[in-house]
Symmetry: C2
Subunit: 453 residues, 2 copies
């Protein structure tokens, strides 16, 4: 295809444009970045326009806007709906970044910046693949783009947007590039995603910070109590103790588990790369199973009392924690959120007041491997990477996949090209230049094969 | 005594001078206040000089300096050694203060400022009592002042100073005003103090913050693990589980406990004042016993992961806690520090690295009630307050009391006038104007009665 030559010929410009986007700190979780989030939306809209869409628009929501764009090339051609997001995770702790998170740089052929992979880099591949096909008159499908700005805060308003625009979003397949592959030697495609339930816990003891000498031992310490409560949520077998938590978890068959076990995985390499002496998880499951098919509970943040330099002998008034659970297919996010909230409130001892505030959630999803979209994606990988992609269950969450299945009755094709080493959500997030360019190629091939289906 | 009239006549100036001292943010725990700590030392030195000491000097230590001053009035007169400190606790959380911590104000006859009570207000009473007696030619004893700047960080260098200056510090009694009374209607004197052991715990998991979806459930979470470890330190009976922790604790006799139980204490009032539904502590002991005669363990601060606005699905690399224990007589601070450090390190699971760093400690002390100093102090209370003070065991720590017993072979008289409501170490620390003035009077009477012994 001429489009492929075009992509290779325009590599530097494709990188420069991504860098411009990465320089916009579109952190959706923190309101002080609201104007930057808006700027990122406008940036995307302009790029769609210059790439040749029929129309591009910024659609307002109760929160951050959705960028929608479409190109119609033929009534009888299939329609591809592309989903992505232009918002990013908070960048802190800033001090752990080797270079500023919003000043992208290339080192060892990797782009370093917040959002380099998740999801600006991967989302922008679609804009450039579209441009390439348009410029070479090779776009074989109608295409619609829905790029949101709230993925990192749970896509709070996307559901409403999708429900309100069912007709507008009508398509034959949804393509999402927001996942990863096992390695560049071993491409894979995500066929399962975990759901999410996220809550914030506030534990209040005495009505003011107290002197730990004058009151210690007689007045309950909210930090100790919060630790007791958190500790009680997981038993010594790595099992979550919240009543009903596992009730709806689908157990995989031995056959399915054996199939999963075939995925290449080197535990020693894994531990070495993370610099840990041992892994930890639920008894009776392998590391890949713990990530792919089992629900989990993690404390994402905790704070209380004196955290400055030196020593302060305070018995604090309050302690806080952010707690999230990852859910597997058939667990319902709202149900689990209610279970966790009620359980934590129910185990609060009399000497404290406990308040649990749900943040956001999302449903897990399983993606069929026998769809036209999945087959076209596989062919695209074979064409671009010379290898058949391995079906993988990812531990992450892309709540809207379940939403699309539910509202649009469409399965998503997870055409992601990230690597574990990209450290998304972490300091020094990166995305390989190779993966960025190869991703644009693969997407272009996908359109070709999907049109031929 | 003329001195008493003088004190009453100079009330406003005595308050103004204290306010000048309170405006200096002499936070010893935080190095960014080092120059302020120094300023506070110089302020004290000047006030001693203008009050008429023979000499006042700033004695350097490895840390913050000690202000020493003395007045010799007669070879055959007894000598009083006054100890106090001019450093203060950190003021944060600043947002919880109704008025800025270092801009003292008087509201409802109380002085509000960090250090108002602990210990600038109480220490400065001695400077003014001395001035009053000098001005009226009524100083009946030789007096030496040792005012340090590291009490809030464990008096790290005072031990060396005292050992190096045994001759210089020779005295017949030590007087310290850094404790409280039950209430203004029920004056009391501290006859027991708890020791302190303070450590900082660092828990390190993976070598970087991870995406809680991609790794959650398979990689140990340092926050969850820290909570597990902290939770395991105290059992459901409020008993500390660290092996050997209680080995040297002196159990009080039934008679002693019955005597303690006579101190006026209203549990309902106590809970109401702190706005807690219930107290919490070691089974089998009353609230006063839990504070006065039992050792405790409290988490003074905890932090890790994402603590900003909104939600971040991170599995953090590190988590931290500041943990302190209050010790009772016969427990050795260094021994307990080693016990706690070794225990916490020993229970660290294989999936994390745990580092425990001791901050500072101090020994507990019991003060005899049959000494000349204690009797003189009791008389001074009767004279100034019209009531005999009740002997009380305080839960706080003034490590140097044990140090003085050990090195100078002198018992301390705890001539403190603070109230629980003063909220020392907390936001909105205060000190009653009545207590400040009445304290200066009481100290003045103490000198008279001690000279007559």
């Amino acid at each position: 295809m001429k489009s492929i030559d075009y992509i290779l010929a325009n590599k530097q410009r494709f990188l420069d444009e991504l860098f411009d986007l990465l320089r916009i700190p579109s952190v959706s979780a923190d309101s002080k970045f609201d104007s930057d989030v808006r700027r990122a939306a406008e940036f995307i809209k302009e790029k769609f326009e210059s790439a040749g869409v029929d129309k591009a628009e910024i659609c307002e929501t109760k929160g951050h806007p959705v960028v929608y764009a479409e190109k119609h090339v033929g009534d009888h051609l299939p329609t591809v709906l592309v989903y992505g997001h232009y918002d990013v995770q908070p960048a802190d702790p800033y001090e752990l970044w080797d270079s500023p998170p919003f000043e992208p740089v290339i080192k060892n052929d990797k782009i370093y910046a917040r959002g380099a992979c998740d999801d600006k880099g991967q989302m922008y591949m679609h804009v450039k693949a579209f441009e390439a096909m348009m410029a070479n008159d090779e776009l074989p499908c109608n295409v619609k783009f829905m790029i949101e700005g709230e993925e990192e805060v749970g896509s709070e308003n996307l559901g409403e947007f999708v429900k309100a625009n069912k007709e507008k979003l009508k398509a034959d397949v949804i393509v999402i590039s927001d996942t990863g592959i096992i390695s560049n030697d071993c491409p894979s495609m995500t066929v399962g995603l975990r759901g999410l339930s996220y809550l914030e816990v506030e534990v209040v003891g005495p009505n003011r910070d107290l002197h730990s000498g004058m009151y210690g031992g007689a007045v309950g310490n909210p930090i100790n109590t919060l630790c007791d409560m958190i500790s009680s949520l997981i038993d010594d077998k790595g099992h979550i103790t919240i009543p009903g938590f596992y009730d709806k978890v689908l157990e995989l068959t031995t056959v399915e588990r054996e199939a999963m076990a075939k995925a290449p995985f080197d535990l020693e390499e894994y531990k070495k790369e993370l610099d840990i002496a041992d892994v930890k998880g639920e008894d009776g499951f392998s590391t890949l199973e713990r990530i792919g098919i089992r629900p989990t509970l993690d404390v994402n943040g905790i704070w209380g009392g004196y955290t400055g330099e030196g020593a302060k002998t305070v018995l604090p008034s309050k302690a806080y924690a952010k707690i999230s659970t990852r859910l597997v297919p058939n667990q319902n996010s709202d149900e689990i959120t209610a279970l966790v909230k009620n359980h934590i409130e129910s185990i609060a001892p009399a000497h404290v007041k406990v308040k649990v505030t749900p943040h956001h959630g999302g449903e897990a999803a399983v993606i069929p491997t026998d769809s036209d979209g999945f087959r076209a994606a596989s062919k695209a990988f074979v064409q671009a990477w010379g290898k058949e992609p391995i079906p993988m269950r990812d531990g992450g969450s892309i709540p809207i996949v379940a939403l699309f299945q539910d509202v649009l009755e469409l399965d998503s094709v997870m055409l992601g090209f990230g690597l574990d080493e990209d450290a998304i959500h972490s300091p020094n997030e990166s995305y390989g230049v190779f993966n960025y360019m190869k991703g644009i190629e693969t997407i272009t091939w996908f359109y070709k094969y999907f049109a031929e289906k």
